[in-house]
Symmetry: D2
């Protein structure tokens, strides 16, 4: 941390800041510039996260500037080699493209089984489907709950595809973990810190969606919550952020892919279904995210999108999904990757 | 809802949309324009929240436009007179300015008691203080938990000030409700729908902070979750939104005050501490929000901001708080309001 | 400027950075921390605006952090006392509230004269009106051009109100300056640097609207362009920024008022007509901006808003304007100010 | 346009709206719903752009909703086949990937000639370089002006590469058009409507950068200004938008590529240098934008980025540019495209 003093601060104000730094066991190194004096704080300020705020209110202080990264376990500096997350033999982040696909919400046995078979036949590596659904309106369909989880498990049994499903509340972590292979944290819970620690505790792999207004640093700090509880199997998922543009449902942040790769060792997948909200945009954006370095995709596919109980407007039908898979494979090849193929025998 | 057809759609595509509307028991009324055909959907589309998405994927359809408001119970149309929330005799929304003040986090008996006495002496109507703290970093101070709640209760006993404190997880709703007079939902849980329903169930008044990236409509839908469970005592709290501007911690949305007043009957207070993140901005912004029609303020005040365990940079000290109270009273008078004075005898 | 080196940089990389700093005549002061080495650059880096970018691409460098403010002439450090802008005897920034009011666009003699008389009668200090209109669509009404300017001059002659009008292009700076008392730079030209220098050259007072996506620092740098050409009469105008919220046309940034007051000596007024885009929001937001410390308001008022050729939805009618003036006066009094009264005899 | 009436409006209010619609020669078709009455306005409301605003202030009206697209000439509906822009034989938008590359600013003969030769040798189709530079700070390097244009022309003579350079002001349109093959409109002038019409008049191809806070609709309306003046050679350029995320300089909007392709017939290229602001992100994002369907790229390349007079932090060196070209060619192949090769003989 650097402390920037105001022009014209008094000696007493300067000494008080130096003393406050010493109080927590750190050292202050002043640099006297032409217009301003700056104090470099030497020591691990990550261990004193309140210090910057406290110093900012002191007399004579203009502002503070962080220097050290606020996260540690998920940083490239801490671990330079890529983390590969193993989900029942499906490897995420191993230089392959992993495709997780399926309906937004589990609606019926017929729907989920037909989707699971179609996903398997078209080359998906995992099946997604929501049993508990976060809905902006209290009047929307909110999922089949445990019945939905059972249907997902049944689909896994038949197809061998591992199951990815969202957990929305601490109270249902255990029940979801009983059925799911990967626990998904949704965008609205990206800073629900109690839930992050609860899912960490299951030691299942976590698919961590970016909060729709989370900075990349905040998203990595959310991952840090999980890693700090001893669960190292985190898959980051870019799903679009909220901006002024309304022509698509969200703004897919393609920059986030290489940024996460540079800052962290964790694998990162992209969700063009939510990142665009429009089925016609899903394929081009999926191709773009793979070309930019994503380790995989998560896609909403529905047997009959015009009768979906949620997110129909962004769901692909089976034919569109086939097209996406064929073209993703070509782009993957162009960037030196292959499509992940599950090693699970069915 | 209006369905906008693409130019050049076929008769079959048009008929299919009309049939899909009929399928759920609604009626379609087409208007043939010069460039486009539009179908007005007559009936309560709020009861068919998936219909718009489903129709958007149909062939020949360009887009759909909602007409009816997606929320009901919190709307002015449903209830035209202002809701007044009664907290142990403190009335919020009665044409008065209610000030809720206190430290960000409860840190010690000495800190909370000195703050409570100072708030009481300077005219605050309620005491705020965090026992469970949401922190972006897992390495920050996270609150005294139940010990903190006990200290808040002790402060209430001495000063008579009702207690406002945040609840962060379903697992702690009961313990927080045991001590608190108002349960606060923080910005990071503004769309944690399970938690919204859990706090509703306590039938305590709820202070509902706006999500930092929630639209006003989404914020009202979050209130709708609480009202739909039978709890009508919701206080909306504008606390700033996330934008491109970084000179302040958030962008305080002053427009939200008259917008909530127009769209809803619920009272709305402002949080200039989080809305600015800088103590020097707190007073002018507090005055502005009151002049714009806010029913009250929630303010962070700390006996010694430069030693605060959280949010020191935005906390007022006691002298600054005195100044805010004096000037808020003047501005309140200018807009025809008076400061709320608790009726609780101490 | 501080240069933050990567962990594990080599000695050669460090020396190269030190040499690059020396190359432009500045000094580097290294601080070796626990995780990172930081180099403080001592000297006026404002005079080497490319240096930060250049150093950022050097091997071993993680990032650079600016310390000095990038603007000088408009800063409080450069000039501590408030600038008062004198417009034909109307003083802006003298502890008074200056109200500039009138129609969005000049449409006809009858419209502008009736508006001017009404503004004068109701206490406005200056008349606004657009002769050249920036329009998002090429198919919208774009102003009466010089005829409009002549009508504004005629209105000034009768009412004594100084004229504020927008200049949109270098080619029309002279013609606009011939008639106007204050040249307005609109939000879409907030970073049109050629135009900023052209208007500076006229030595007329400039009303500088904030760009809809300008940071406060960028907005002050735009003012710096004008001041650097020797024109010190700049009135800053907050008119709302673009965010994800669509319930109002823009998000009025109330924090900007005290921030400008702290960072700069220039006066700042608020434009709640554009800041909200909805006439019903104009009065409460106007009151809020005045309470937060604005030196004045600029308001759209139209004799018949439902027949306005532009921005009817945000224009007040005369009765609404009377109400705003009465209530602004009360709030001004509450914050220790009075309404500006033009000293011009008519 | 649809007019949405308030619940409980009076018959007089309804009739007044119907009359106002009739007044401009359009027809109103009411639909009486369960909660609200909606009036469909039949006729070309694009020709009455003020009508919506005017109706919104009428009594009994809640809001209006546009139905027709506000632009015409640049829409797919108006022209279904792709526009191919021909720049001295270089075709943009013909199913090829056109790469425009060169330094941010022209700094010296040596710099521009070495860059031009290197770009030519590595397969670029056009040379970019700034002679007039928009700079946020008045203290930054602002270009060599006409000397810079002459150097660009000299580089064209030797290499045969057409020249793309920015025009910042009406006063310099003629001088820039005298030398340049493509006139670039920068992000800060994206809504400088006078300038848009001036450059249209030259009948040179225009590279139209998206405003950093322009919606896609506003960006297309800016193109409409140029097309409406009879210049049909517009190349759209996505260069990132301003959002809350600060880890990169802008947020590259990958969704914009397929959206422009769907809504318009104009070609669209991507600028990953400005879209990211960090040289390490340029290659992955360039690949992503090509995979998503961009017709080309514009890239900043500098012989010695650590001594660049502007935008060094985002400039590639020659080796990095070679890598980008090789990998872009592979991704182009994967999506069925080839690299554009200039037909100009040198």
């Amino acid at each position: 941390m650097m402390v920037i003093m105001k022009p014209g601060h008094s000696t007493e104000e300067f000494e008080a800041v130096m003393a406050r730094i010493k109080e927590v066991g750190l050292d202050g190194h002043p640099i006297v510039g032409v217009e301003r004096t700056v104090i470099g704080v030497v020591g691990l300020d990550r261990e004193h996260p309140e210090l910057a705020d406290d110093i900012e209110v002191m007399a004579g202080v203009e502002s503070t500037v962080p220097i050290s990264s606020p996260f540690k376990l998920c940083s490239r500096e801490f671990k330079s080699e890529d983390t590969i997350v193993d989900v029942n033999g499906v490897k995420v982040g191993e230089g392959t493209i992993t495709v997780i696909a399926g309906p937004c919400a589990v609606e019926s046995e017929e729907q989920v089984m037909s989707a699971a078979r179609a996903m398997r036949a078209r080359g998906a590596s995992m099946l997604r489907g929501g049993a508990f659904k976060p809905r902006t309106s209290p009047y929307s369909f909110r999922g089949l709950e445990e019945d939905g989880l059972r249907l997902l498990a049944q689909a896994r049994e038949e197809t061998g595809l591992p199951i990815v499903t969202e957990v929305m509340s601490e109270a249902t972590v255990d029940i979801v973990a009983k059925y799911a292979d990967v626990l998904q944290i949704g965008t609205r819970n990206a800073q629900n810190f109690f839930l992050l620690e609860e899912v960490a505790r299951t030691h299942k792999p976590i698919l961590l969606k970016r909060g729709m207004s989370s900075s990349i640093q905040e998203w990595l700090l959310a991952a840090e919550y999980i890693l700090a509880k001893g669960n190292r199997s985190v898959i980051m998922c870019e799903r679009g952020i909220r901006t002024f543009e309304t022509a698509a449902r969200n703004t897919m942040d393609i920059n986030a892919i290489p940024l996460i790769k540079e800052m962290s060792h964790l694998p990162v997948v992209a969700d063009p279904s939510h990142g665009t909200g429009k089925r016609k945009l899903v394929e081009p954006v999926a191709l773009g995210m793979v070309a930019a370095g994503a380790d995989g995709l998560i896609l909403e596919v529905h047997p009959s999108p015009e009768h979906a109980l949620s997110d129909g407007a962004q769901s692909l039908d089976f034919d569109m999904f086939s097209s996406v898979m064929a073209n993703v494979a070509k782009v993957a090849g162009a960037v030196g990757k292959v499509m992940e193929r599950s090693t699970v025998a069915v």
